[in-house]
Amino acid sequence: MIELYAITDNPGPPLPDVAPPLELVPIDGLAAVCTPAADAEVSAATLWRYEEVVEALMADRDLLPVRYGTRLDDERAVARAVNERRDELAAALDRVRGAVELSVRVAAAGTEQASPAAPHTSSGAEYLRLRSRAKASRDRAARALHEPLSALARASVEGRPRPPELFRATYLVERDAVESFAEEVAGLQEANAGLGILCTGPWPPYSFAEP
């Protein structure tokens, strides 16, 4: 069995030197980057090792990262599977060319600080009303982040926030615009003290890989 990491242009720069060594399966202008599959339990460490290989590839080439855990019998099976979607994949690779992915997750800073602290001074209904109003204003603030950030991005995808998150989105950003994106995030954080903004990346374009 061999495991897939990414789809890239072919020819491309030499493969990074990692263990186990990477192999290239060429498919009509594209290539699949693979390695012999190892039996490994999924853990934080195995996920990071996988990520490090994809990031090493990303350092000097454009790529479509492949869904983690994709395995095929042999190189012929890889070539066949990629060839079936060759044009779609080439178009997807063009869409992410020159760009990386940045993740933004937003939570309220100090979870319940905006809630009224003395419910005995008002009715339960009043308490709930104030609480929901506080939540709505945090939601509006999270929305306010999306507009300036998406203006700096080639594309964006909003995800469903997982509590206690208020907002989450992923941005496809030109490699040379990553710094200005990070500066914008810092500025937005300063302007919105009630929100905790967590921005990570640059990631390979996982969220923009599937056509």
């Binding site: 994709t70 995800g159 599937e210």
Partner: protein, 67 residues
């Protein structure tokens, strides 16, 4: 990505979301069934929250110090 383990722990949520939920899907065997993916999420989230809790209580050294 980031230079300290502490930052990596924060980024682990983003990593898991991307590796298990993103990327291009090539016909072939995905080694993880959907149930496994859920399990991985549960395991990794438990890891993240236990690290965060332990750090908060000062039980563990900060993860960055382990380097």
């Amino acid at each position: 990505m980031s230079t300290t383990i502490a930052e990596r722990e924060v980024a682990l949520v983003d990593l898991v979301d991307r590796l298990l939920g993103g990327g291009v899907v090539i016909a072939g065997d995905i080694t993880l069934a959907v149930a496994d993916v859920d399990l991985v999420y549960v395991q990794l989230r438990a890891l993240i929250s236990s690290v965060a809790t332990a750090e908060e209580k000062g039980v563990l050294p900060r993860m960055g110090d382990a380097l």
